[in-house]
Each structure stands twice: as C-alpha cells, then as structure tokens.
Subunit: 263 residues, 2 copies
C-alpha cells in the first residue's frame, strides 16, 4: 500500500531491459488467503503466485510489478500490474493462459499491450481505496471477509466533517505506519466519502499516493470520531501533528479493497 | 429448501411438549462450509452446529427447527428458527450465549420469546430467496462464494417475460428435484424480479412455499432464456408440462441466499 519512488526493495522486481515485451494487466483478488501483494520467501503472496503462473507460461525470465503493494488480507478490484517477458503471445492469450494457471482467488480481468519498460507503480497518478464497515449489532457472516465489524452508533456526519479536513495536499506522516522509512510524506487527497447502505458503512478515499497503512490509519481515526470518542476537529489536529502516535488505531486489513489505480 | 407438511424426517426435530420454553431465532449464515441446514450424521450442518451450541448452553433436551432446509452451500440472511428448551434465560441472553458458542459463519441476528410449541416451518406464510449471477467476462474473486459465474450476453428482458408466466398459483412439479416425494406440488409465486447492477444480475423470488431445488431450477431455466437458447415463452411450457425433465439445468447452490421467512 505504500508508494515509493526509489525503494531498494524494488530492485529484484524492476523490469529488465532485455525483456522484449510488456503487458498491462488488471488483477482482481480476494486477499484473505494471501500474505499481501509483495513476494516473500516462505509465504503465499499475490505477486509470488502471479510470478509463478507467468513463469509457467513464459518459461524464462519474467518480471511483475504491481501499482499497489497491498497488505496481507487486503483485496483488489482493479490492481494494475506490469508484466515483462520474452513473449510472442497477444495480450488476450496471456490473460486466458494466466487465468488457467492462477487460483480462482486471483483473476486477470483485463490485459493489454504496454510500452516496453512500462512501470505500473511509478507512472500511476493515483489510487482509490474502499473501506467497508459492518455496523450491524451482530456481525454479518456474509461480510466476514470484506468488512470490519464495528457495532454501535456511528455519527457519519461527524466522520464526514473530520475527513473533509484531510482534503488537499499535506504531510501525512501522522497516518503512516513507519514514517521514517518513507522518502516523501506528502500526499494529495482528492476524495473522501462516507456512505451508509443499511448496516454497511463505506469509506472511499482517493489520493495521488498513499503511505504505508495510511488508509487503515485514517479509517481507524475517523471511527474514533464516528463513535464520539473524539470531536470532528480532532482529525485535523492529528494531521497537523505529523506524529503517528497521535492517530487512532489501525483498522484491520480485511475491510480494505483497492478499487482502482489511476493513470 | 423444501416445505413439507407431514415429513416423517421431522419427527426427531419436532418440539417435545415437555420443553417449557420456546424462542424465535433469526439466523444469518455463510453456507459455504456447511452440508446444508438439515442435521446429518458425519457432516457439518447448520442445524447440527446450532443444536450443539444450544446443548452446551441448556444442557439437556433441546429442539431446533428451521423454516427452510437450505441445501449444502446455500446462504441465509434471515433464516427463522424455532428453539425449544428447558430454560430460564431471557431471549437476549440466549442470543449472546449462542453467538459465543457458534462459529462466526453462523450468527443469531435476533432472538425473541415465542409461544411454547412454536413451529417455524409450518407457520411460515412464505419465503424470499435471492439468486446472484456474476455476469462478468472473467469471474470475480470477490463473488466466488456468493454468485454463479455466467459470462456472455444475457437478455434480462426475455428473462423477465419468461418469469412473469410463473406468477400466481401453479403445480410446480416441473421445477421440483424429486416431485414424487412432495406431498403437495402447488406453490403461489408472488414476486419474480431480475435486476442488474454492473456485472451482477440478481434474481429474487417470493412464494408461499418452495419445492426441493425449485429456486435453482427456475433460475437455471430462466438463464436458458437469457442466453437465447430458449424463447421467453418456454418457461410457461415447462411449467405446464409438470415434468422435471423439461426444465433447464439446476443452478449451483452457492449463488442462492435465503433472504427472509414471512409470517
């Protein structure tokens, strides 16, 4: 979930110039059974699973880079991925073949040719996330995978007022899990919406970029306001503090879905 | 999913007159991991899991009867259940204690006192079911548990025309899995709706009662019309035939959700 412009961890995933074809894939996944996007030794991850499927298809050297490094348990409706390989296959064939190799929890929902060297992360202009809250008195079994169960009265008006203060360009260190690690803490938040449909409260957030755990920290803090534990003006104070210890708890990963990546 | 007015299989589940308190429970469940509602030896069922939780709570003799015997894999938003036990607990305590003993895939969403001898099945005036179809070109990983993936063009207008012919009171043997087993094949269908929201097509059906596999057989047949394999008038012909071999394939269980039981 963190953007990074010069993150040394990306070196292994960087597109090799020798790979002569690039594709832009759009992936949907149920993150429940995965240890997040980023490839790790001894853990099942979305990137690792996609890489294994692509290696079965293309044989040799393959690179896959996702626009968002979603955390363990986070879902995606439209994650954009750059796939580089030595390939003669048209994009539609790559899509069908990858879907044949992937578990059903990961689907390539679209595939297109991309310029060689296409970087899904660094060229992204923004991302949109959705956070679902199950506000029912009793947790809904049908929402267990997709929503955080928060029973009790929630003041959505107060949450909207609180979130409106985050609109615009700010140093968002207060909502970043490990601020020191980030090269650049400035983010431009474009849209912050809170809607209710029956027991489900949906918080959607768009920004040019997000820091590590940023959506989950903003949602956890906004809920402190919604529950009445903090006044609506508190979120602006937290933001201004640039201090992670001032913010509310991190909302759990399973309520979060990457909706789309904007280019 | 079948109603039955004098089904000998119910004998074991019938409320014993010696049990001096009855509750009306409303259950929600994710049916994915259960072999349906009805208790079976050597299989995990919703009724069996609820009974075990109630026996832990009340100790002695307990009876649980659900209004709908949902098939393996079918979900419920509001299944009504009669619970009879020797109990001094208020309904709210029973709800909280059962939820503490049940897996999160089953939740008691409401509980109230009921007259002793309350029979959730025989007193039901009707039921409403929802069948979800994932009409996306590629299956959505986020709908795997809840929707049947049917790609390709679907003519919803033709499906609506076809389903309208089922409105009213009919012998529904043509849509019954095992017609000979049913005491009474007449059902009064009240509402049949087909809606689309993006790639999701939702078919909702209400009736005073449903025969075994009836919703799934109606949906499977309506999809034959939606795909253009059959004309809209075909569903009326199938109904009039009273012959199960005339109908379309049975839609899979996991797309089906019991929405509520009407009293």
């Amino acid at each position: 979930m963190a953007d990074a412009r010069a993150d040394p961890r990306d070196a292994a995933a960087a597109p090799a110039l020798s790979l002569r074809r690039a594709y832009r894939l759009v992936l949907a996944y149920d993150g429940t059974g995965f240890h997040g996007w980023q490839i790790q030794p001894d853990a099942v991850t979305v990137q690792g699973t996609l890489l294994a499927a692509a290696q079965r298809l293309f044989g040799g050297d393959v690179r896959v880079i996702g626009a968002s490094r979603t955390d363990a348990g986070v879902h995606a409706l439209r994650q954009t991925v750059a796939l580089a390989a030595d390939s003669d296959h048209p994009a539609a064939t790559v899509q069908a073949a990858l879907n044949a190799h992937l578990p059903r929890e990961i689907r390539v929902v679209a595939a297109a040719d991309a310029p060689v060297g296409f970087d899904a992360r660094r060229t992204a202009r923004g991302k949109r996330y959705l956070y679902l809250i199950d506000n029912g008195t009793v947790v809904s079994p049908l929402l267990l995978r997709w929503a955080w169960h928060v029973p009790g009265r929630l003041d959505l008006g107060a949450m909207r007022t609180a979130l409106a203060a985050l609109h615009g360009t700010h140093d968002c260190s207060a909502f970043c899990a490990a601020p020191g690690r980030e090269v650049e803490p400035t983010c431009r938040l474009r849209a912050l919406h809170v809607r209710r449909r029956k027991a489900i409260v949906a918080v959607s957030l768009s920004a040019d970029r997000f820091l590590h755990h940023m959506v989950r920290n903003i949602v956890g803090s906004a809920l402190e306001v919604g529950r009445g534990a903090r006044p609506p003006g508190w979120l602006a104070e937290v933001l201004a503090s640039r201090d992670r210890t001032q913010a509310g708890p991190t909302a759990p990963a399973h309520g979060l879905t990457l909706v789309r990546v904007l280019y």
